[in-house]
């Protein structure tokens, strides 16, 4: 199965979980990112995610491979939604199976952290007051800071919070 996917439709969590089952694994850790109704004091009614898909998939697969190669995961997978999402919807899912919980938790954390820093995916927030804005591009215009990634190999300038 592809280890990283970009998906336009709601996710089938049981099917995703089933792909990570392995008799050598005693631990399974997941992360779900949900759309919340407020951000930075603004009331959010929904999000639109946009991806540069060919590179997002390529880089996403690299991240998942790193979790297996470097962090002891036996299997790892990640799916990121694109398109319009309402408050409460699942935006990103990470699943990791491993022999023990320590590797599973660490690898799961690694995947979501790297996904947030490295993938060419953008979030536009739509507010209850009718306005909208691309997160990290428009609303947060503090001076750029250099954000080290967990691997230290790639650095990317971000505006404001991550």
């Amino acid at each position: 199965m592809p280890t990283f996917r970009v998906c336009r439709a709601p996710l089938e969590l049981e099917a995703l979980r089933a792909e990570l089952v392995d008799p050598t694994c005693g631990a399974y850790a997941t992360f779900e990112g949900w759309v919340r109704k407020c951000n930075d004091g603004e009331q959010v009614r929904g999000l639109t995610y946009e991806a540069f898909e060919p590179l997002a998939v390529r880089e996403g697969e690299r991240i998942v491979e790193e979790a297996v190669r470097d962090l002891g995961a036996t299997h790892a997978a990640c799916v990121h939604r694109v398109g319009d999402l309402a408050v409460g919807e699942l935006a990103v899912w990470v699943g990791v199976s491993a022999p023990h919980r320590d590797e599973a938790f660490r690898a799961c954390r690694y995947v979501i952290d790297e996904v947030k820093h490295r993938l060419p995916i953008w979030k536009k927030e739509h507010y209850l007051n009718g306005e909208s804005g691309w997160v990290n591009c428009e609303r947060c215009t503090r001076p750029a800071e250099r954000a080290p990634t967990a691997s230290g190999r790639r650095q990317h300038l971000h505006y404001g919070r991550r």
Partner: protein
């Protein structure tokens, strides 16, 4: 001579045709997803500065990354005819 589809300095023999894809805020500000253009820009850095002037992009180049032919590349990578360039605004996935 400046044509509507022309971007860059008037060094006709060095011009190349490149594709540019726009995403997120850049797509909105350029009011297009993709274009093919003739440019005298030698690097993605020069190309971005030209397009930033053309479309009044608000993001400084220092805030972006760039991909050429679906791989992250340095800003000083030489551009060649047929390259597909994507300027990557600050990301916000997850």
């Amino acid at each position: 001579m400046i044509t509507p589809n022309y971007c860059g300095s008037a060094q006709g023999t060095q011009d190349k045709r490149v594709g540019v894809q726009y995403y997120a805020l850049l797509r909105q500000q350029a009011a297009r997803r993709h274009e093919s253009l003739l440019t005298g820009a030698r690097t993605p850095a020069e190309l971005y500065e030209e397009l930033k002037r053309r479309y009044s992009f608000s993001l400084p180049r220092e805030a972006l990354r760039v991909a050429v032919n679906t791989e992250f590349r340095g800003w000083s990578t030489p551009l060649v005819d047929g390259d597909e360039v994507v300027f990557i605004p600050p990301v916000s996935g997850g």
